[in-house]
């Protein structure tokens, strides 16, 4: 009979353990993937890729009980040697190799991409085709560590604000946002759809938990082939009850962004450094009305407005520029979007019902969040559905929730990949999506 009692302590050390648990001159054991081999003749550097970064092994003939040709790039190895300080080595340490154990060998050592280089000098197309290899490049993988920091801080912050995490179904009978951009599937011979957002469910759960959030995939069958659209993405959603106004939601998002930047600065500084990211200022975020900012950018930059009810991508860029120039901010809330471009559940502005108590957050000239106050009154909700000529069919459960009472509430959805993209300074959202799904990509 074996018993398991918890995580096993290993003899092999991680990079951060090398400085804590070993001293220069000591014999240590480490493992890792052979990231690159640099043969200088009398001496060779074997660079290991480990989860915390790179670690340099130094090979000198005679000092080691194996030959350099025994190792090749892509192999997984365990090596023993003497820990030494060397300020030229990654992290300021290196290991004088004495012996090696090959844990696994690649079947093919003609790597399709030169992942050992500082910058992966290849097309986005190639990076996506050889995704699992491309991401072995340190700067490529660092983007997804930053992404982890953004989603991790979202949850941490909201737990602290009394939110409950929920898991809502992705297969359902009807889409929340309506429209044509819904993936359809066969569910045991019944028509079903993939969730475009957790909207209905998170609202229904406000009546239960008051404040809820979810971090999960959403699916959009949009036929856009742009640098900013994905057909599947990770949505950071929250919804909160007992709000005094939709300003509470923007205030909560500002709180999240402050928390996120702090967490990134504290725990992801290595990755920020690798990617040369300077964190944006979020101590105060300006908010401006949709109609007002449209006029302002049109005046300042001579931009010709084509659509009075929505913002075009070029307009978002100009608004971002305006916010930076006039208010010194990388972020700007654009509020009071026209009612006709918002879904039926958006709360209209009681002072002017052509507009809604809603907002988008733009980050460096691109929308990364949509949010607002929702209608909480059953009568008002069914009237708006009727006024839009929409059927209640398939929405009975959602509507019933309001029949039995709901507090004033609102919430938002943040596109995780877009937020990462703007932060990392990338110009294509696929750069910050692990395995993008778009019109042409269904694999890997």
């Amino acid at each position: 009979m074996d018993y398991f009692t918890g995580v096993r302590q290993k003899e092999t050390l991680e990079i951060s353990e090398l400085s804590k648990r070993a001293k220069p001159g000591q014999r240590v054991k480490v493992n890792g993937a052979v990231h690159a081999i640099r043969d200088m003749g009398t001496v060779a550097f074997v660079i290991l890729r480990k989860r915390e970064g790179l670690l340099q092994g130094v090979f000198e003939e005679g000092a080691a009980d194996f030959e350099l040709k025994d190792i090749r790039e892509g192999a997984a190895v365990e090596l023993e040697g003497i820990l030494e300080e060397n300020e030229k080595a990654p992290g300021g340490i290196e290991i004088r190799m004495e012996s090696i154990r090959i844990l696994s060998r690649p079947a093919d050592d003609r790597m399709p991409l030169a992942i050992g280089k500082w910058k992966l000098n290849t097309s986005l197309e190639a990076k996506l085709t050889y995704r699992s290899v491309a991401l072995r490049n340190l700067r490529e993988r660092a983007k997804f560590r930053i992404q982890e920091g953004l989603v991790r801080s979202f949850r941490d912050f909201l737990y602290g604000q009394g939110f409950t995490e929920i898991h809502t179904p992705k297969i359902g009978a009807k889409g929340a946002e309506g429209g044509a951009n819904i993936f359809k599937l066969d569910y045991f011979h019944r028509p079903a759809v993939l969730a475009q957002s957790p909207q209905f469910y998170k609202q229904m759960m406000v009546g239960v938990f008051d404040r809820v959030f979810e971090t999960a995939p959403v699916f959009r069958a949009e036929k856009h082939n742009t640098k900013r659209h994905l057909n599947e993405y990770t949505s950071l959603d929250f919804e909160m009850g007992f709000i005094d106004g939709f300003e509470d939601i923007m205030a909560m998002e500002t709180g999240y962004l402050k928390y996120a930047m702090e967490m990134l600065g504290k725990f992801y500084d290595k990755e920020l450094g690798l990617l040369n990211i300077s964190l944006p200022e979020v101590s105060r975020i300006p908010a401006v009305k949709f109609c007002e900012i449209k006029e302002k950018v049109s005046e300042k930059y001579g931009h010709q407005m084509r659509n009075p009810f929505d913002l075009e991508p070029e307009e978002e860029v100009l608004i971002g520029r305006y916010a930076k120039e006039e208010w010194g901010s990388d972020f700007v809330f654009v509020t009071h979007y026209p009612s006709k471009k918002r879904p039926f559940y958006a709360m209209d502005d009681p002072e002017d019902s052509r507009f809604t108590l809603s907002f988008d957050l733009l980050f460096r000239g691109m929308e990364v969040t949509t949010g607002g106050q929702r209608i909480h009154d059953y009568g008002m909700l069914t009237e708006k559905l009727a006024a839009r000529g929409m059927s209640e069919e398939g929405m009975e459960d959602y509507l019933d929730t309001f029949k039995y009472g709901m507090p004033p509430h609102g919430g938002l959805g943040i596109g995780l990949e877009r937020l990462t993209m703007r932060l990392a300074g990338e110009d294509n959202v696929r750069e910050t999506t692990l395995f993008p799904r778009d019109l042409s990509r269904l694999a890997p």
Copy 2:
């Protein structure tokens, strides 16, 4: 120009703030949903449902500037009154109501379920039909707070162990596990499927991040209509590289379970109390071989084995009973499952290739985890595919990852709803699923 600077401090107090930021005798303001009204004649109790629990308001005619009939169950209200101590009230405090502001009114106050009762005395069928109302019952919602604790501790623990969180696509070209239980959909006129598990992707990412995890929905088109099957559930997955053996994975899971029970005890004690849950002992978890335990339960309980290659549900129950009686454990790892019942990527036991280096974890007689070591060698993997007569079609990206080198690795998947179900002592997994998807349920 408005600026947002972070979360707004509110005048209204939450339950935990009432004791911290106010004193008995003080006038306070709170909000909440009217959970129940208990009219005793001269005095009435208005019970508010708040996210942290129940709060009692006391109504006495003359003392308040409103009438009891102004309020009804299901309304959202904000009330002001004097904070008082009362050991008979929930949480030991109550509020003598003076004034009230109605934030919203229900359209229908004939609630379909008596949610104000301690125990929601109705069928599972009714609870699922009126899901958003049923969950307003305190004990019903508490189960999902416990569920939050389980997933939250999973992530927290793994962050601490050097794992990176990933988000892998749910729409793909091919299922990881194969078989018939795959939902199919149309992806812009191309055939696509919903992910049965993140298996291929998390393995591919071991070569990048070394240790990865994901907490996301998975989809199984299984035609089972049992108390333990769902067609969509939340899977807690991890995968780790540079393992010495599949025992490392069981050790890691034991570490997680210890961490989870600690976190639940610390932050979810109220909910544990509401549900009368006593946390299981996880300081050591026994592990026993598949063939051995089959014999043991057959001997001890006279059980007739029907399937020598798998465990039937009744057998799992007996194994759970055996583990409790013989080893005093609610958990038991069953190891070395027959190769023919495990997927092609499972690592066979080099000592006896009829079996695999894999395991299930049973919790109180039900499987809640499947895991094991995977094949990391490209040649071995393609040979096993061939030996099973499987095609490599659609798996090229997965297989290529191995071609360019992968460390020895393994991982597991935990069914979140099942884990919650066993912990909460429920006998149907739908009880611990927010919005279950099964053969008959596609809504709400």
